[in-house]
Amino acid sequence: MIEAKLVENILWIGLRSATPLLLAALGEIYAERSGILNLGVEGMMAVGALSSFATALVTGNPWLGVLIGMLSGGLLAMIHGAISIGLKGNQVVSGLALTMFGLGLSSVLGRVYVGNQLPVEARFLPKPVEPLSSIPVLGRVLFDQDPLFYISLLLALVMWFLLYRTKYGIIIRSTGENPAAVDAMGISVNRVRYLSTLIGGVLAGLAGAYLSVAYNPAWIENMTAGRGWIALALVIFSLWDPIRALLGSYLFGVVEASGYTLQAYGYSQWLLNGLPYLLTIIILTLGATESMRRRMGAPAALGRPYEREER
């Protein structure tokens, strides 16, 4: 019985810590599918976390917090869009700049909030969905979660459907594979890329909001702790597929959560802190191997600015 409880706990915590990773990865999948590599996920998440925390703290309304978090994530993504789409700049450097900018901005503006916690009514709390939540083990894991958890699940399904089963998905995927063909069809490559980059930023902002309004309802400097980078690795692991991103982030979350239980057995907390990053390298390597085996690589035009052939 004790073991069942332990497994339940690991799965429950695992899925919760996977949710921000999933949200950020879903957004980045759309950006990358359109050909825009945005390495600024970490920065957008940090600013999303701060702005949603501050909004929820001031207004007492977590939903308003989430909204502002998404807006600020989107706003930051547009800086990256302007540089890498509008000015055809280097996407790697621009993404890194965005990460530094976002982390710095959240630290500078967040200073006054350090140590603050959200009052209970301004947080998203896990609520059991009766009677499903009384199913042994899985009941609590799947049906005793907060609203954003369900939204992220739904988003993964909807975004998969949009990407693979609708005209819009075909346009986004073609823009990342062969922008010249999309251009020839009379569709603006830049518009598709701006929009996809925006989606990426909005979801990174939502991921940040999840961290500071649901997962750990307090403001801690650098609270994203590299999760943006882990999400980027999950995008590669998922082979740019939203459903695989869902599975990948849940797998990651559960393995990470089981690692932390080792602390109870006397393993060093410092070494366990390093575990997720090691796991990320492993996940990244597995994803890259799979991508080679299936000959399914990154979108062909990923990271390359689109320039129309001169006539």
């Binding site: 400097e221 802190n273 990053y277 990320t280 990244l284 390597t285």
Partner: protein, 357 residues
């Protein structure tokens, strides 16, 4: 009237330098918003940064102290970036070098300085290179994204480092009259491993000398040797270069040995020349700031030295204002981000012309 963007065929050196200087200037102007948020007068803040960095003797020598690790890191990064390999984990390679030097210094502290110090630098180079090679192999063999792998390896080593200084490496003695109960730090490394300083300053001249020499050597390697030719070829078009028979694996490993190794030497300088022991705050972000200076001044050794000296001054002045005006450490990140954005935007003017049609 419609505007049209045309790619420039070539850009004069003067234009490039002018655009970069103006970009940094515009970035600093934009960043002054931060000071307004904190209710400070940007003019006061910037003049304070400038005065404390470049107008006093201690400011100038301290700027040189910051320049040393930045120059080492950025000479390596300038080379590896030209190979098209985005090493973002120089901070981890710097730490690897410092940790290896620590182990050697503690165990062989009885050796004479003249013998020990060259060993420390060599070991630091080797450790930094070793921490940089796995991402190169993963990229060459499995096409694993190096931005993420190099950065993740930094995080992994960072937590191993924290484990060591909180546990196995934690100092047992008291420092002076003070007991550092609960505060994690290692013992001070043996006297023989301390690097000599220029009198009256904190400039550890052996590292400075190595930094200047290696910045020239890395430049010559890249521009004047067959290996450098392969690096540049692979950087501009990897498919064509490998089709022409060049080895991607060998070239990228070589570039990472240089880049990781130089970062490792920077770590040795920080430990043996400046801090003399490890604390949780040992790292100050030179590995990340070096990305900026490599991007800004990576064209040749002279511009690298000038850029890193100026950037070092920005750090010195920045530390001063952070203490006086109680600004959070994140200000440095924010500045880095804004400078990069403006330089990227400026690149557009270097590469393209806007004309009416």
């Amino acid at each position: 009237m419609r505007l049209r963007v045309i790619k420039r065929l070539e850009t004069s050196r003067k234009t490039v330098i002018l655009v970069r200087i103006l970009s940094v200037f515009a970035a600093l102007m934009t960043a002054s918003v931060v000071f307004l948020v904190y209710g400070l007068n940007p003019v006061d803040v910037y003049s304070s940064i400038f005065y404390n960095a470049f107008a006093t003797r201690i400011g100038v020598t301290e700027s040189v102290v910051r320049m040393i690790p930045l120059l080492l890191v950025s000479s390596g990064l300038a080379l590896v970036f030209r190979t098209g390999f985005w090493n973002i984990g120089a901070e981890g390679q710097l730490l690897a070098g410092a940790m290896a030097a620590y182990v050697v210094a503690v165990n062989y502290g009885s050796l004479p300085s003249a013998l020990l110090i060259p060993i420390l630098f060599s070991v630091g180079f080797a450790a930094g290179a070793a921490w940089g090679i796995p991402p190169a192999i993963l990229k060459a063999k499995l096409n694993v994204n190096e931005v993420i792998s190099t950065l993740m390896l930094y995080y992994v080593l960072y937590w191993v480092f924290q484990h060591l200084i909180h546990g196995p490496w934690k100092a047992k003695e008291k420092v002076g009259q003070l007991t550092y109960g609960g505060f994690a730090h290692t013992e001070v490394i043996p006297e023989a491993s301390h690097l000599p300083l220029i009198d009256g300053t904190r400039i550890h001249w052996p590292t400075l000398l190595i930094a200047v020499i290696t910045s020239v050597l890395a430049y010559l390697l890249l521009t004047k040797t067959p290996w450098g030719f392969e690096m540049r070829a692979i950087g501009s078009n990897p498919d064509a270069a490998t089709a022409a028979g060049m080895s991607y694996l060998r070239t990228v490993i070589l570039a990472m040995v240089v880049s990781g190794g130089l970062a490792g030497i920077a770590g040795v300088g920080e430990l043996c020349g400046v801090q003399k022991r490890f604390t949780p705050e040992f790292l100050s972000g030179y590995g990340f700031s070096g990305i900026i200076t490599a991007w800004l001044g990576g064209n040749n050794p002279l511009s690298l030295i000038v850029t890193n000296f100026l950037y070092g001054g920005l750090l010195v002045g920045g530390e001063y204002i952070m203490i006086t005006y109680r600004l959070p450490i994140g200000v440095v990140d924010l500045f880095n981000g804004i400078i990069l954005f403006f330089v990227l935007a400026g690149e557009f003017l270097v590469r393209y012309r806007v004309v009416r049609r």
